[in-house]
Every structure is written in structure tokens, then in C-alpha cells.
């Protein structure tokens, strides 16, 4: 019988009502199953560390309670394990929240597994580090360093399940390891059964971004139609003991699963498809075949595995100073010329009102923004589609000191009275930045394990 992997969330900030239809379908089918919440990326790990710097009680997934509240009791009652990297920078804090939520819901005695070992900040200097292959930044100096987290594999999660955990809370683990762990435990796969581990990792890879495999992040009207995006069904991956896998979703939900949606997600964030690195196995997708079995049922075959890499990726977060953003709108006749003038005035003002090391970028939203580079090459080259449109000048800047990003944003604010005619709708925003860089550590230098929350320790 296949094991069912349901996705409850694909990123931090995902829909918090997505898990309920998935859990209802898992219960209806009555097969062994797990529910996975993947809420931790490079952006959100940095955000979690930033939050914890300002409040030691924070630093785990901010939506954790909203995500779990609708499904926790049902999952416990039906033996559906929940696994999530929602611990982020504060795994203990997340465990405490899950414990308290369970108590309030009458799920007393809920066994919560806590995964340890991803945090290597305290011993980073003693580790043998290599830069990750596309990394050009050096390891930051001591005081700027905020955190260092290793992408763990599935083994400590399996250990938590073996110890009876009904909810497994992790910090940084490889996203698909959240899915691989219950498969290894249920199917009894060996840690050198590379083809099966690879299939399990790819089941996780396909499910880890939630609706991105079931019609989310896909619709392009007139080209790729997706029905009922507002009620998208999140994916369920069926995985057999021999590694065969089928991607599907709950009946009666919106979205679609077909060869196209599965292909897009299969290569999402993959570099060399013949050598996709994960902590537990190197995946080879060279011979993958995708078969549409029926409506919203797609089989993926031909996934191969090679021995696990000797080193594990580690993300280092360090102080990135301050970022400031400010915007002002121009619309109607000659709006683009007025927006361009605003940009020119700001550039001139910043030359003598801000220090040379202030990093800045200016966009005209509605004309060019996201495709452009920081120096605005496209803005200067692109022919306007509508000189009388609706444009928004955006300033973004970065500096080690808050006062200089505030000064730059204030210069945009001053366009109200001292800039071109008809500017309006100024908004300003400031935040601390956490920069990240990636390194590789030796697998043997990492000690990962699981404990049961409240068992041997009182956090």
C-alpha cells in the first residue's frame, strides 16, 4: 500500500486554510499518511533570525498557530504525523507553542519531537568550511555573524518518529527531507538504497512548495489556464515501497495537476538535473519520465540516486545593516516625464546629501522595475508604452547605519513640495537586513539527533 504525503504549506506566508481539505482526503482514504508544512527558505530563515534578535521569544514561523489550529486534533486522532520546519531559528519556541495549542484543543499528551543539530554558529570557526559552489562572499567577521544553520537530512526526523513523535519540529533541514523521513520509516528503506531515497526526495521536492505543483504559480491566461485558483487543492504524493510516485490532490478542490505543472516543479531551484544535491542522496533526473494517468494524477518514473555528498550546505546569516524603501506616484498626462524628472532630482540630491557608500537603486514602477539592474540600464533604454500612464518612482537603499537610509527616504518625501508636479502617495519603509552566504561543512562534523519535547528536558 502506498504511503500518502500531504502538503499543508509551501512557504512562510502560504494559505493557512490549505491543509484542511488535504487532511480530510487523507482521513477519507484511510492509508498511512503524513502532513508536511514547509515554511523555511533563505529569506525566511534570515527573517526568523532578525525577529529573534529583537525578541528572544520569536524566531519561529509567525503563522504556526494559524496553520496547525484547524488540523492538529484531526491528525492526532487519525495517526497522521505532522512534520514541519516551522521551528526556523527557535525550535524550542515552536515546540512550546505546539504543546500549548494541543493542550487547549484537548490533545493532551501530544508527543512532540524536536530535531537538534542544525545550529552550528557556536562552533563555526572550528569547522572545516568550503564555499558553496556559486558563493563569492567570504565568511563574515565575528560580531557581524548572526547564525549558521546546516541543511540536515532525514535521519534525525526518522529518529523522532521512531520515538513516537506525532509532531516533528525542525529548524533548517533540506525541505524534501521532511517528506523523505516518514517514507523511510514506513517503507523501511535503507540509507544506501539510493534509487528509493532519490524517489523519496523527489516526492518531497514536488510537494514541498505546496500548490506550485497543483496549479499554483502556473496560470498564464490564454496560455496556461487554471480553474479555481482561489480554492487550489494542495498536493498529495502517493509513494509505493519500490519508489513509484504519483502526484495528486484532494477531490473537489481547485487547481490542476498535469505533465506541465509537474515539469515546472520538478526543475524548480534545481541546477544540474543529473546531479541534484540533497543531504541524503544525489539525485539524477536525466531519465525522468512523466505520465498523465488521469485527471489530476501524474506519475513520475525514472528517478535515480547516487551516494550522498560528503559535505552539507550551511547557510550563514550576518548583519546587513539597514534597508530603506520609499515610493511616490505620478499619473495622467506626461506622467512618465515627471517620474523621470523625479528620478533625476533624487539622484542629484543623493549625490551631495548622502555618503558615497550608500547603495541605491531607482525604479519607475509601471515602466521598468523588476527586470532592470540597479543602475537602471533598461529604464534609460526602454521605449515607453504610455507616456501618460500611472507610474510609481521607487527608491531602495542600503547602509550600515539607519540614519542614512532614513535621510535618503526623506529626500523622496521632500519631492511632495520640491519635486515635479502632481506627485502623491508617498510610503516609506525601513528594516534591518540580514545577509546570507552559503558554505559546505563536512558531514562527519555535524551531529543531528531528536528528542521528545518535555521528555528529558524542560525548555
Amino acid at each position: 500500500m502506498s504511503f500518502l504525503l500531504g502538503s499543508g504549506a509551501g512557504f512562510s506566508g502560504d494559505r493557512t486554510d490549505a491543509a484542511s481539505p488535504v487532511v480530510a482526503e487523507l482521513i477519507r482514504r484511510g492509508q498511512p499518511a503524513a502532513l508536511i508544512f514547509e515554511t523555511l527558505g533563505e529569506r525566511t530563515l534570515a527573517a526568523a533570525h532578525r525577529a529573534m534578535r529583537e525578541d528572544p521569544q520569536a524566531g519561529f514561523e509567525p503563522l504556526l498557530e494559524e496553520l496547525l489550529e484547524p488540523v492538529l486534533a484531526d491528525c492526532q486522532r487519525h495517526g497522521i504525523a505532522i512534520l514541519g520546519n516551522f521551528g526556523a531559528a527557535n525550535v524550542a519556541g515552536a515546540c512550546r507553542l505546539v504543546h500549548d495549542l494541543a493542550a487547549r484543543q484537548g490533545c493532551g499528551g501530544l508527543r512532540i519531537g524536536r530535531v537538534h543539530g542544525d545550529d552550528v554558529r557556536c562552533r563555526l570557526e572550528s569547522l572545516d568550511l568550503e564555499p558553496w559552489e556559486a558563493e563569492t562572499r567570504a565568511l563574515p567577521a565575528g560580531e557581524a555573524l548572526i547564525s549558521a544553520n546546516v541543511y540536515l537530512g532525514a535521519a534525525p526526523l526518522v529518529q523522532a518518529l521512531d520515538r513516537g513523535a506525532e509532531v516533528v519540529v525542525t529548524g533548517r533541514v533540506a525541505d524534501p527531507a521532511l517528506f523523505l523521513a516518514p517514507l523511510v520509516r514506513h517503507h523501511g528503506w535503507a540509507w544506501d538504497d539510493w534509487d528509493r531515497l532519490a524517489a523519496g526526495m523527489m516526492a518531497g521536492h514536488l510537494g514541498e512548495c505546496g500548490a506550485q505543483v497543483s496549479g499554483g504559480y502556473f496560470a498564464d491566461p490564454g496560455y496556461k489556464e487554471v480553474a479555481e485558483l482561489a480554492t487550489l487543492g494542495y498536493p498529495i504524493i502517493e509513494v509505493e515501497a519500490d519508489g513509484r510516485l504519483v502526484v495528486t490532490k484532494p477531490a473537489g478542490t481547485g487547481g490542476c495537476i498535469d505533465a506541465r505543472t509537474v515539469k515546472e516543479q520538478l526543475l524548480y531551484e534545481v541546477h544540474d538535473p543529473g546531479h541534484y544535491l540533497t543531504p541524503d542522496v544525489v539525485v539524477d533526473l536525466s531519465d525522468v519520465v512523466i505520465n498523465e494517468l488521469g485527471p489530476d494524477r501524474v506519475e513520475v518514473q525514472g528517478i535515480r540516486g547516487k551516494p550522498a555528498p560528503a559535505r552539507l550546505k550551511t547557510t550563514v546569516c550576518y548583519d546587513g545593516g539597514w534597508q530603506g524603501e520609499a515610493e511616490i506616484s505620478y499619473a495622467g498626462p506626461n506622467a512618465l516625464a515627471r517620474a523621470r524628472l523625479a528620478v533625476a532630482v533624487l539622484q542629484e540630491r543623493l549625490r551631495f546629501r548622502a555618503p558615497a557608500e550608500l547603495r541605491t537603486r531607482l525604479d519607475i514602477i509601471g515602466h521598468t522595475s523588476v527586470f532592470d539592474d540597479d543602475s537602471g540600464q533598461l529604464r534609460r533604454q526602454c521605449q515607453p508604452t504610455d507616456p501618460a500612464g500611472d507610474y510609481r518612482v521607487r527608491l531602495a537603499c542600503e547602509h550600515a547605519e539607519r540614519r542614512w537610509v532614513e535621510r535618503a527616504a526623506q529626500e523622496l518625501l521632500a519631492l511632495y513640495c520640491a519635486g515635479p508636479a502632481g506627485g502623491g502617495g508617498v510610503r516609506r519603509h525601513f528594516q534591518r537586513r540580514v545577509h546570507t552566504a552559503s558554505f559546505l561543512v563536512r558531514r562527519d562534523d555535524v551531529t543531528a539527533y531528536a528528542s521528545l519535547y518535555g521528555d528529558a528536558e524542560h525548555e
Partner: protein, 123 residues
């Protein structure tokens, strides 16, 4: 896909030019300052045409204004598509960029702005 709807003058080889967006779909993903763009032909018969025309130098030129340093292309014939891996194109990546889209998620549609030349008979 109704190719008879395509218009535009034919080139010397009798081929018509059209946006890649009509023939293929794409998705962007990021890790650090590295971007990957997966690209798939809607119709597998167009895969050889993608292979011929969506080349590493052409993609590097498309992203040159953002400082792209290298493009590697991984053909995926079984999927009628390819994976394009572009280095140093995100101007710092999601935690370092000043761009509104620090992930580079929108860049799949910059790729789809490329034009391709298609034989008049459609494939």
C-alpha cells in the same frame, strides 16, 4: 496552439519570428545569487527548435545588463525542455538585492520575451 494565427514576414529561410512565450512555458528558481530557469515546449515537436535557438550565449546576452557571468544549459529531452542556470544575475540574491524582486521570480517571463524563428509549417 493555432500556428496559422501567427503573422509577420518570413525570413530568407522561410521562417516566421514569434515570441518564445507562445511556444514554451518557464519557471524561475533561486539559490543565493544563482538563478535557474526551466523552459518547456508546449508541443514536443518544438523542442529541437528551442535547443537550436535558446543557446547559452543568447541567454547570457539577455541577462548581461544584470551582471550575469555564466550560463549553463542542461537539455532535458525526456521533458521536451531544458534547465538554464545563470550565475551572478540576482545582484545579491533574495537577502542582498535592492530589486523589488530579489528572488528573480519574474525573470522567467524575461526569458519568454525572446523571439524564436519557426518554419512556416509550424515545426
Amino acid at each position: 496552439m493555432n500556428e496559422s494565427a501567427f503573422s509577420g514576414p518570413a525570413d530568407e529561410a522561410g521562417r516566421v519570428s514569434m515570441p518564445l512565450h507562445r511556444l514554451a512555458h518557464a519557471r524561475a528558481g533561486d539559490k543565493g545569487d544563482r538563478l535557474n530557469l526551466s523552459l518547456f515546449a508546449y508541443d514536443p515537436r518544438h523542442y529541437p527548435l528551442l535547443l537550436e535557438q535558446i543557446t547559452e550565449p543568447r541567454v547570457l546576452a539577455l541577462f548581461a545588463h544584470r551582471g550575469a557571468s555564466r550560463v549553463r544549459r542542461y537539455p532535458m529531452p525526456g521533458l521536451a525542455g531544458m534547465n538554464l542556470v545563470i550565475d551572478d544575475v540576482l545582484q545579491g540574491g533574495v537577502n542582498g538585492a535592492l530589486n523589488l524582486d530579489g528572488h528573480g521570480k519574474t525573470l522567467s517571463f524575461l526569458l519568454l520575451e525572446l523571439t524564436v524563428a519557426l518554419p512556416r509549417d509550424g515545426h
